[in-house]
């Protein structure tokens, strides 16, 4: 038997859910197919940092738009998703780094952006009282913050369902074909049909693109996280540092969450990502260097999550250049969580109206596609 819908979403991570939600709210009959279970990969493993700080120019406009949505996220999904605007702070440990940061922020502000500001040593200590004495200052994005990934998943899932989205877990898409304007989607024995298709398949989105005839080369990221036992409140903002792979924050539960992009081992066929202890040790060393007080904290758990990475480290969100009714939505390269609320709207706009008022020109898939002339601006950023 074949099920039909107005739109089919492949992938039940946050981006798939957000796209499904927006399409359903615009009156479509939406079916979401998820191979494992909702949030099984990147979205469930995420550090859930909500960051505009240091975004590449191509992503900045949509990131700023998403930021406004995060500040009112309950209006969108009926729950605050654990979002707290505690700020994101990037720390300089040497004078040279501080000067480099200052120059960057000055440039940024000259272009008209107000989301980043320089902080000196005194304000740094107010923001992060336990930071190592050698840290000199940094750049602070006050309206940035962090959310709770599992609450966010639950809220988007609930909203999508009540907007009428049909969710099929355990439905892995195995082939795609087109009959006229209709997409024929097979998931094992099951068959589905819809005129509109969203490829939000995370680390496997390159395979889905290939099934649809689009060759979009992507890499894989398996970023790792460490979570410690709970301690008394000591830090509000999320802290990163120039020249270190580190992201460090305290959650609402009191645990310390450490990430920053050190890579684990992965196996796309087995759909698994595992920790690499030696790489993880570098995250721990960076954390201890910046916050010496955490040295004795016990690690409760570590993990790694899978997602797609692009050559230029910029997300892909745009219509297929080769075939109608297909939106590509992947390649978030470790920083897609923050973009979730905005890109759902972008997806609905593009599939239904063919265009969107958001500035997502820099996220077009064809910039990376085989034979496509590389946008010189994007090439420079890579």
């Amino acid at each position: 038997m074949t099920e039909t819908a107005d739109a089919i979403i492949i992938g039940g991570g946050l981006h798939g859910l957000s796209a499904a939600l927006q399409l359903a709210r615009r009156g479509l009959n939406v079916l979401l197919l998820e191979r494992a279970r909702i949030g099984r990969h990147s979205s469930g493993a995420s550090a859930a940092g909500v960051r505009t700080l240091g975004r590449a120019p191509a992503e900045l406009p949509i990131s700023l738009a998403a930021m406004e949505m995060w500040h009112n996220i309950a209006d969108l999904v009926g729950d605050d998703c654990g979002f707290q605007a505690t700020g994101q702070l990037r720390v300089a440990e040497t004078q040279a780094q501080l000067e480099q940061l200052s120059a960057q922020v000055t440039q940024h502000q000259l272009r008209g952006y107000t989301n980043e500001e320089i902080v000196g040593a005194a304000e740094l200590r107010e923001l992060a009282p336990t930071i190592a004495p050698h840290c000199l200052g940094g750049v602070f994005a006050r309206r940035d913050g962090a959310a709770d990934p599992h609450r966010t998943l639950a809220a988007f899932l609930r909203s999508a369902r009540s907007a009428g989205v049909q969710i099929r877990e355990g439905a892995g898409v195995t082939s795609l074909a087109k009959r006229g304007d209709i997409w024929l989607v097979a998931a094992g024995e099951d068959r589905f049909e819809a005129p509109l298709l969203v490829n939000a398949a995370g680390a496997w989105a390159g395979q889905i693109a290939a099934m649809a005839g689009d060759d979009i080369p992507i890499g894989t990221k398996a970023s790792m996280m460490i979570v410690t036992e709970r301690i008394a409140p000591m830090l509000k903002p999320t802290v990163s540092a120039v020249g270190r792979m580190l992201s460090f924050k305290q959650t609402l539960q009191g645990t310390i969450l450490i990430g920053g992009g050190q890579q684990g081992r992965f196996d796309l066929v087995r759909e698994s990502a595992d920790v690499d202890a030696r790489a993880l040790a570098k995250s721990a060393a960076a954390a201890v260097a910046l916050f010496p007080g955490v040295e004795r904290l016990r690690i409760v758990r570590t993990w790694s999550g899978l997602e797609a990475a692009t050559q230029d480290h910029i997300a892909i969100a745009g219509l297929s250049p080769s075939t109608s009714g297909l939106m590509h939505l992947f390649g978030f390269t470790g920083h897609g969580f923050q973009l979730v609320p905005a890109l759902g709207i972008v997806t609905a706009d593009m599939l239904l109206d063919g265009a969107t008022c958001f500035d997502v020109a820099g996220l077009r898939p064809d910039r990376l596609m085989h034979g496509a002339a590389r946008d010189p601006l994007l090439a420079k950023q890579a």
Binding site: A36, R37, R265, R301, T302
Partner: protein
């Protein structure tokens, strides 16, 4: 390069090390305890040996000490990666070892026995009480009630009374009448000879002073900030209450799976013993070529079986390493396998006497103690979520996210999924285990960083 890293210096690990050395392979034995002996022979060098079993244990520890191989006490293995690579830490320093083979001889853990109030101070597992008795000679100064089933419950009772402690009564959770079924297997058990156990049993039968309530189907520990009362019901409809400040609970032992799960070995459900076990070939090799398993960490068989399976795994490793031909290995393995079959007969006795019981798991039970998640929370999460397995529950409820890594709630999660959606435990599976396997601080992990 070291040929074999052995995790665990209990009867299985020590025997394997001795055997491997004889077979010409180098070993490193890593154990988190301060001295060799494992669970059953903990602290044996410092305490008087009671009975034949203890004497043989003391002799094994002596031979192990004299063997002179690399032995690392007070060292915790916290991660195993393909390679194989093994990560350990001791005295605040983390380290990586890359042996050719790893033998997991990590022993059993007590089967968690969740019921409302099991988290109250005053409720303790028999295993924990036994460690206090064996290593610190700590004897409770108040009378104790015991609850549960399994030979170790009786063994502990025996040990406690011998040490001068007071046992007021037993709340026996094994179904009434089981003793008769078990009696048929008794001859096999006697030839195997777990004398302590039989003594404990005989003692229980003869004793008049210890109250026994049989056929317990549900338990509830009550009290404000510590235990004051225990209420129970039985399979013939009785409801009762006892006043006690100490309740020691035990529901048998199961393989401590965290090491083999973390190492990526495949496991399967053992229906008779209601637990998962690593899948092994006839030489103790797991589904991961370079990793072997022996002792109670592989399948529950008791100390003597642990010794034999340690020897068998050593032969298997020598065969895999090429220092023994397949024929030589088969010949050497034959008598060991015969011994293991004999030990299994004893196991049947224990199985018959103490089939793992399914006590009620009422909604108010705090199933995950680390994150304080009740059975009600888990049942609610499972409702209408046919694709939610143990890992999904973990995300939905935080059950299993705490420091014990699901050692206390993992089996309950599998059970509750089965209760909600049916399905075989093999299909449901166990929680995924995320490193570290053992407590590790950020500072310790950081010491592993070479700075490059």
């Amino acid at each position: 390069m070291i040929d074999v890293a052995i995790v665990g210096a209990g009867p299985a690990g020590m025997t394997a090390a001795l055997e491997l050395q004889k077979l010409g392979l180098s070993t490193t034995v890593i154990d988190d305890q301060p001295a060799p002996g494992g669970r059953i022979f903990a602290n044996i060098e410092q305490r008087p040996a009671h009975g034949a079993e203890d004497r043989s244990g003391a002799a094994l520890v002596r031979r192990f000490r004299q063997m002179g191989g690399d032995y690392r006490p007070a060292s915790e293995v916290w991660q195993i990666e393909p390679g194989p690579r093994l990560f350990l830490s001791s005295s605040g320093q983390a380290q990586m070892i890359e042996p050719r083979f790893i033998l997991m001889a990590t022993g059993a853990q007590e089967r968690p026995m969740p019921f409302p109030g099991w988290q109250l101070p005053g409720v303790m597992t028999v295993g924990a009480a036994q460690i206090l008795l064996k290593t610190a000679r700590q004897i409770p100064d108040k009378p104790v009630w015991l609850a549960g089933s399994g030979p170790l419950l009786l063994l502990y009772m025996h040990q406690l009374i011998a040490a001068g402690g007071m046992v007021e009564g037993i709340l026996d959770t094994s179904p009434s009448g089981r003793i008769i079924t078990a009696a048929r297997a008794l001859p096999g058990a006697i030839t195997y000879g777990w004398r302590d156990l039989l003594r404990g049993l005989a003692w229980q039968w003869q004793s008049r002073s210890i109250k026994v309530v049989r056929g317990i189907t549900s338990l509830q520990a009550r009290g404000g900030d510590k235990l004051s009362h225990v209420t129970y019901s039985t399979d013939d409809g009785q409801i009762g209450e006892i006043a006690t400040e100490l309740l020691f609970i035990h529901d048998g032992v199961v393989p401590g799976l965290h090491g083999t799960i973390a190492a990526g070995c495949d496991h399967r459900w053992n229906e008779a013993e209601q637990c998962f076990e690593p899948i092994l070939d006839t030489f103790g090799r797991t589904s991961v070529e370079t990793i072997f398993a022996a002792g109670d960490g592989a399948t529950i068989g008791g100390a003597r079986a642990a010794t034999l399976s340690g020897r068998l795994a050593a032969i298997g490793i020598a065969r895999a390493a090429g220092t023994m031909s397949s024929e030589q290995a088969e010949t050497a393995a034959k008598p060991v396998r015969r011994g293991l079959a004999k030990a299994a007969r004893f196991r049947h006795f224990v199985d018959a006497l103490y089939p793992p019981v399914k006590m009620a798991l009422p909604d108010e039970t705090i199933t995950c103690r680390c994150e304080e998640v009740t059975a009600r929370d888990i049942r609610a999460a499972l409702k209408n979520e046919a694709h939610l397995g143990p890992d999904g529950i973990k995300i939905a409820t935080r059950a299993g996210m705490g420091p014990c890594q699901g050692r206390q709630c993992g089996a309950s999660l599998t059970r509750l999924v089965r209760e909600a959606h049916g399905g075989a435990p093999d299909a449901i599976g166990f929680l995924r285990i995320r490193p570290p396997l053992k407590p590790l601080t950020l500072g310790e992990l950081a010491t592993l960083d070479s700075g490059i």
